[in-house]
Symmetry: C2
Subunit: 126 residues, 2 copies
């Protein structure tokens, strides 16, 4: 059984490779996925596999920017490249059980927004 960081790394590697058997092996039977921005939820390994396979078609790929793991918790920051070449960061938090299976996934997909005028004089742009 791997560390939390190894399990999260394996999760993203399997997703990027469309290795859905390997991806499923990382999940608890009763895994719960939540996307707080849309208030969407998926319960259970098979529905969550279907969500990934059918919900995100197309030739996307992803790169891991950072993984942090600590006991039964993990966090990741990825760069997700859509089929059209657009790139978006994805932030994800994981709970992992004593058997090394992922029980909870919460992910976030932040979009660009305009810099508020109130702090424009306090920053540089890049």
């Amino acid at each position: 059984m791997g560390t939390a960081a190894e399990i999260v790394a394996a999760y993203w590697a399997a997703a990027n490779d469309r290795d859905w058997a390997g991806f499923g092996d990382l999940l608890a039977d009763d895994v719960v996925y939540e996307g707080p921005q849309t208030r969407e939820r998926v319960r259970g390994r098979d529905p969550y596999l279907r969500f990934n396979i059918e919900g995100f078609p197309g030739d996307w790929h992803l790169e891991v920017v950072r993984i942090v793991g600590d006991g039964e918790h993990g966090a990741s920051w990825i760069q997700f490249t859509n089929a059209d070449g657009s790139v978006q960061p994805g932030l994800c938090f994981f709970d992992i059980d004593g058997q090394g299976r992922i029980t909870r996934i919460t992910d976030f997909w932040p979009d660009p927004y305009d810099l508020p005028a109130q702090r424009a004089h306090l920053v540089e742009r890049y």
Copy 2:
């Protein structure tokens, strides 16, 4: 010197308490803050203190949902409540040096968005 998780917890506690002296003590002299959504950057402890003090006025408060720490890396998920009562998640990644000071902060503020029709049949809403 604390663990990465302790340092990240102290960072958010100091921010929430407006304990800017304690907050500053957690930062490396050459700390770099980046907000990828607006492509804003702040370099250095004093400019970053000013950014926090002047850039975010008002009676906001925050609660930590999750902190994950691993060696010289940390991640946090907070709920930020604005003065008007609106609540937003904030996701933040930290680099911490060998002296236990924060050298890099990258944070993300995801907004709600409409559930894509392509996966609507694969999820429940909450």
